[in-house]
């Protein structure tokens, strides 16, 4: 469904991604792990069009999306939940969700909001609260909910566990599983390698802008190479 072919991308002088090739098939949860600065977030940003792809191509559902503006990529069915959640803090939970469905026809809005509240009943209670006043876990739920509002085919999640207490992290991980079970495909970027490997099907290990290792997540869980890669050894 999603293919990155030898993608090179970056900001300014230094290239961050130096020839990354990734494949995500329908219905999978694929995770991208690696140490800091390896280029994980940049990969997602290249897919969603926030970062220009200098070389190589990105294909989604057999259509080339690299080089197209972000709003077109969203319309194609890709939703990106950015690192750090990036909610609109001064807007209410509902407004944030509505913005997530910006591309949706007006009549479907109510439906979609109801669906998200189905998923995250706790949010329904916070409907009119300012997003900035919610706890970390709730904010993460809003962020993911906002992504789901666009009714995407592919969901890009950037470090959903960042800043969350361990118990919440597990909850979020289970949420992601459930989302996949309902038919979405997920590409997940995570700092917390162990957790990511537990909850995903396949994994890619990114190191200084290149794929250093790939495989079935379960197999990689105990792999000493992963530990080395993370600690830069």
């Amino acid at each position: 469904m999603l293919e990155l072919e030898s993608v090179e991308a970056g900001y300014g002088a230094g290239p961050v991604l130096r020839g990354v090739s990734i494949r995500v098939d329908r219905g999978e949860i694929v995770t991208l792990i690696g140490s800091n600065g390896a280029g994980k977030s940049t990969t997602l940003r290249a897919i969603s069009g926030l970062v220009a792809v200098r070389k190589g191509r990105i294909r989604f559902l057999d259509r080339v999306i690299s080089g197209r503006p972000s709003h077109a990529i969203v319309r194609a069915g890709v939703a990106h939940v950015p690192e750090g959640r990036r909610l609109f803090g001064e807007m209410t939970v509902r407004e944030n969700l509505l913005l997530g469905a910006y591309i949706a026809p007006r009549r479907e809005l109510g439906q979609r909001v109801a669906r998200v509240y189905d998923w995250f009943p706790r949010l329904a209670e916070r409907d009119h609260q300012l997003a900035g006043s919610l706890s970390g876990g709730e904010q993460q739920m809003v962020a993911i909910g906002r992504g789901l509002m666009a009714d995407p085919t592919l969901l890009l999640l950037d470090e959903p566990s960042l800043g969350l207490a361990p118990k919440l992290v597990v909850q979020v991980a289970e949420m992601i599983r459930a989302i996949r079970d309902r038919g979405l495909t997920v590409l997940l970027v995570e700092q917390n390698a162990h957790l990511a490997l537990q909850f995903s099907d396949r994994a890619y290990v990114l190191q200084t802008g290149q794929i250093a290792l790939e495989g079935v997540s379960r197999d990689l869980l105990g792999d000493p190479f992963v530990r080395k890669a993370y600690l830069g050894l």
């Binding site: 969603s48 069009g49 926030l50 503006p69 972000s70 709003h71 969203v74 319309r75 939703a79 990106h80 950015p82 990036r86 909610l87 609109f88 803090g89 001064e90 807007m91 407004e95 509505l98 913005l99 997530g100 910006y102 591309i103 007006r106 906002r146 666009a150």
Partner: protein, 291 residues
């Protein structure tokens, strides 16, 4: 003495509200596009002229002429955006500033050539009977203009708050990347923002133009005062800008009443300077524009 002061205060409030309308137009363009629209004064001027011509040539009433002026000027604003702003995307911010400055100079000139420098008077349907409120006189005209300005501000706020496009615009100002990820088409929103800012300028021009006169260079000072208000009120704070507008209007009114009309404009800039020194970030709002 007190009567004079009160009278000037009331007069000032009315003018101040209209300054605020002008300033809001500037603010939204600056906040969303990060562009200082130096042509805003000329869009204000066009508003005045379109209103005048709508009445003179089409025979519509004053209220309708304001609406027509806003529409036509919004269209002009979009043209300015297309020609003077969009092609310069990625160029240093100062280049865009100069570009709109150039556009402003040319528009001013064209107005002078086509419409001559003679001032025009916009006829308004108000009897010159003043309403007396205690020690203060208010002409019907001024009261109406104040109400229209108020309606504009409220409508603008409502638009930003309640409509989808308004939310999209706010999102873009707050966090551009996150907004793009919502599928918001930044280019289209830029166009809309410019149209909105131009419409507000046009309204201000049609309103103040009816109170005073319409002439080609009428936009110079309101432009600068508008900026002063955006800075004083704080980027993104409609309330702050409106309040600052009222304060400015009152300050000008009192200066005109007690000192002399000659020093009125100095007050505007003097106030700006004082505010900048005391509180460089203005009252609340969106924070610094991307500059």
């Amino acid at each position: 003495m007190i009567e004079l002061a009160l009278q000037q205060v009331v007069n000032g409030l009315l003018v101040g509200a209209i300054y605020a309308v002008m300033a809001l137009g500037l603010m939204v363009i600056l906040g969303i596009l990060g562009v200082i629209n130096m042509a805003q004064g000329e869009l204000y001027m066009l508003g005045g002229y379109f209103s005048y011509f709508a009445i003179a040539l089409l025979g519509v009433d004053y209220f309708t002429s304001i609406a027509i002026a806003m529409l036509l000027t919004a269209a002009c604003g979009v043209v300015v955006e297309r020609l003077a702003v969009r092609p310069l995307r990625g160029r240093p911010f100062f280049t865009v500033f100069l570009s709109t400055f150039a556009a402003s100079m040319m528009l001013q000139d064209l107005a002078q050539i086509f419409w001559t420098p003679d001032p025009r008077e916009i006829p308004t349907p108000f009897a010159p009977v003043p309403i007396v409120l205690g020690p203060v006189f208010v002409t019907r005209q001024r009261l109406f203009l104040f109400l229209v300005a108020l309606v504009m501000v409220v409508a603008f706020t409502a638009f930003l708050r309640w409509t989808r496009a308004g939310m999209a615009i706010r999102a873009l100002a707050r966090d551009r990347d996150a907004a793009l990820l919502m599928g918001i088409n930044a280019e289209r929103m830029h166009m809309l923002t410019f149209a909105l800012g131009s419409a507000l300028a046009a309204a201000a021009g049609a309103l103040l133009g009816a109170m005073f006169n319409v002439y080609p260079t009428m936009g110079e000072l309101p432009l600068l005062k508008g900026f002063a208000l955006v800075i004083m009120g704080g980027m993104g704070s409609v309330g702050g800008v409106f309040l600052s507008g009222l304060i400015l209007g009152v300050a000008e009114g009192l200066t005109a009443g007690f000192l002399s009309t000659r020093w009125v404009d100095v007050v505007a800039f003097g106030t700006l300077i004082v505010v900048l020194l005391i509180r460089p970030e203005g009252l609340s709002g969106w924070g610094r524009p991307r500059a």
